[in-house]
């Protein structure tokens, strides 16, 4: 005998126009309960943010797919511990940072970094830029990420969050879960080291 269908009293995740109909807290609650559609929604809402965060820190899309997957798997497993005292985006940012840190640490023990040739292809106005300028920009970007490779992972994270993402010290301290003074010190030395290398690099005009 067929089992009668159970009517689901929960509100649908999406409104008819495709926009989100449930709030963050409800979405998280449903993810924890094992509702696949909720987790898919969570993935759809945050995948670009996660990819962007990782991409900016690492400047390398070689393993980006794997790392984005890792972030979401960690998020899925850790949702039960998400208490809602931080914003969901901050919590996710924190996971991205930890995954990127792990990647940077293992990378420093492994092969040299891949070239960052594809980084600029993502910019919006890149199509209108003259080829020689495009090449120049690409080389400059490669130089920047090559220089970042010399920074210790923790310093690099703080540097990227501050100099690229534009976050202030307090926000960074919240993400990396370190005291303000520690973040400030790391940032001080990271900037000093980075700009010194940039200023002194051989072969640049």
């Amino acid at each position: 005998m067929l089992k009668p269908m159970r009517r689901d009293s929960r509100p649908p995740l999406d409104a008819p126009d495709g926009s989100a109909q449930v709030g963050e807290a409800e979405l998280i609650r449903r993810c924890i309960a094992g509702e696949r559609a909720a987790f898919e929604r969570f993935y759809r809402d945050h995948r670009r943010q996660v990819a962007g965060n990782l991409y900016r820190v690492l400047g390398d899309r070689g393993e980006l797919d794997d790392l984005v997957q890792e972030v979401f798997v960690i998020a899925f497993r850790g949702m039960e511990r998400f208490r809602g005292d931080a914003k969901l985006s901050t919590w996710l940012y924190r996971i991205c940072v930890n995954v990127a840190l792990g990647r940077l640490r293992s990378k420093s023990r492994r092969a040299p970094p891949v070239p960052y040739g594809d980084l600029l292809e993502e910019t919006v106005d890149e199509a209108q830029v003259a080829p020689d300028l495009k090449l120049e920009r690409r080389e400059e970007l490669q130089r920047v990420y090559r220089t970042l490779e010399h920074l210790a992972p923790k310093k690099r994270i703080v540097f990227v969050l501050h100099e690229i993402q534009g976050l202030d010290i307090k926000e960074i301290a919240d993400i990396v879960r370190a005291p303000l003074v520690t973040v400030r010190t790391r940032l001080h030395y990271a900037r000093k080291e980075f700009y010194k290398r940039i200023a002194e690099e051989e072969g640049t005009p």
Binding site: A33, A51, V73, L141
Partner: protein
């Protein structure tokens, strides 16, 4: 003149420098070539950083990534769903009981009030949560716990060097809990039920941690292929590979475990790979490679392409007999079939590829068609025969002698004997040597020469003496055969 620290140029760009300082810095750059160059470089780097900030996130294969994520989380998602449904089910089941309880309690209250009786102790309006004690009934005697019967088994295939426990594997043996099967350059197949068998691959060790009708647990170092067509009702079957385990949900799979690295391939049904709290299902036709340092949480099984799947399925064929009357009954109703063929010759028995080279296979009594290379012949297997029925290739284009040497090495267990005596003196020793064996047309051994010695001269001498003194071959062609012998 003291130069300006490069990060100060970044501060200047960012507007974090006071106006007097900015004027001073610019003036310094105008008069200092080094600092002017440093400022330009820092400015360009900052522009590059700003472009990274403004760039949109990279476009990835979102759907594919979503599918991978689905795989990574599927097991856990199902567990949560089950838990959720379990809780709902409990509420549904408990609801009628609670309703009856409430009805009874309100009925009692109504009767008390109607009688106008004021009890000394107020009657609670809600039924007590402690259930009434049932009339004393004789406690039933606990049901006797029946011991779980051990599984019966029979060796169905031997190729090359294999041991069960400390002894060289022979076809008459069966497996018991705690037994360890070890292979050198060989394989061994053990059947333990209807269409259920395990094939231990070369250079592997398998311990039978549990082996009964409720539980079959194998601990593997190396590789095993398992075929489980019919499992006992509720029987748990798991392969332990280091800290991880592979639990069987279906039928045919291979587990390779080498120093923590795990490789699981499934050709039919599905298995679940368990690593700590993580669990991942690998369905057919897929495989999963998991290095020792990797976490299961981030992995997804990879599909096996159709052609590779056929190849894999053939490579994962576990030799077994088609009916299972029980271990002892099978030994009585079958016998071993010895096939001697050159090392790379594919041998097909009754239309089914079995292996390449020489081996011993259990076959039911009756006539069997054996095909080796270009040669085929019917071989009669007698019920319960102590001596294996024999098939030896005599292909004119392919010398029969290499296959015969393999057969002799297998029959005498020379490698095990010589290797074991060396290991008694120095445990853990092992190696390989290359020998050249001259065989006369009448089948006698003409000479045995060590082409490349191993590190143990005693073992080399033992093996050479053994071959010279004990090996006999049927009359055939005069040939010289080179063999690498591993011990």
């Amino acid at each position: 003149m003291k130069h300006i620290a490069p990060e100060r140029w970044a501060d200047l760009e960012a507007g974090k420098v006071s106006e007097p300082d900015a004027v001073r810095l610019r003036a310094h750059a105008d008069g200092c070539t080094d600092c002017s160059r440093a400022r330009d470089r820092v400015t360009r780097a900052r522009s590059a950083l700003a472009r990274v900030r403004d760039a949109g996130p990279p476009s990835l294969g979102w759907d594919l990534l979503g599918a991978r994520l689905y795989w990574s989380t599927s097991s856990e998602m199902r567990r949560r769903e089950r838990e959720r449904d379990g809780r709902r089910g409990w509420v549904r089941r408990a609801a009628p009981v609670l309703a009856v309880g409430l009805a009874v309690a309100s009925g009692v209250a109504a009767v008390v009030l109607a009688a106008g009786h004021r009890p000394e102790h107020p009657v609670p309006l809600v039924a007590p949560t402690v259930p009434p004690v049932l009339a004393a009934a004789p406690t039933p005697a606990p049901a006797p716990v029946l011991p779980v019967p051990p599984l019966e088994s029979a060796v169905t295939f031997i190729q090359g060097e294999a041991k069960i426990g400390a002894e060289k594997a022979v076809a008459s043996q069966s497996i018991h809990v705690g037994d360890v099967i070890q292979t050198g350059r060989g394989k061994i197949g053990v059947q333990f039920g209807d269409r259920s068998a395990v094939l231990v691959e070369p250079e592997s060790a398998v311990e039978f941690v549990a082996f009964d009708a409720d539980n079959v647990v194998l601990k593997v170092a190396g590789a095993v292929t398992v075929e489980l067509e019919k499992r006992h009702e509720g029987q748990h079957f798991a392969v332990l590979a280091g800290d991880r385990s592979v639990e069987v949900r279906g039928t045919i799979f291979r587990v390779a475990h080498h120093e923590g690295d795990l490789d699981v391939a499934v050709t039919r049904g599905k298995v679940a790979v368990i690593d700590g709290h993580d669990e991942l299902e690998v369905p057919a036709p897929m495989h999963l490679s998991l290095a020792a340092s990797m976490h299961l949480g981030t992995m997804v099984p990879a599909p096996v392409l159709a052609a590779a799947s056929r190849e894999l399925a053939e490579g994962m064929h576990v030799p077994m007999v088609p009916v299972w009357p029980g271990g002892d009954a099978l030994r009585e109703s079958s016998a071993m079939l010895s096939v001697t063929a050159p090392a790379k010759t594919r041998v097909v028995v009754d239309g089914r590829p079995v292996a390449t080279g020489s081996f011993v296979l259990r076959a039911l009594a009756g006539r069997h068609l054996v095909e080796a290379g270009a040669q085929s012949r019917w071989v009669d297997v007698e019920r319960g025969a102590a001596t294996p029925a024999s098939f030896v290739t005599t292909d004119r284009n392919v010398s029969e002698r290499p296959g015969q040497v393999d057969g002799q090495l297998l029959a005498h267990g020379v490698v095990n004997q010589c290797g074991d005596s060396a290991r008694k003196l120095s445990p853990g020793s092992g190696g390989d040597m290359r020998v050249e064996i001259g065989i006369n047309a009448d089948g006698s051994v003409d000479f045995v020469t060590v082409v490349r010695p191993s590190t143990e001269p005693e073992v080399d001498r033992c093996i050479v003496d053994f071959i010279r003194d004990r090996f006999t071959f049927p009359a055939g062609t005069k040939a010289t055969v080179q063999k690498i012998i591993h011990y």
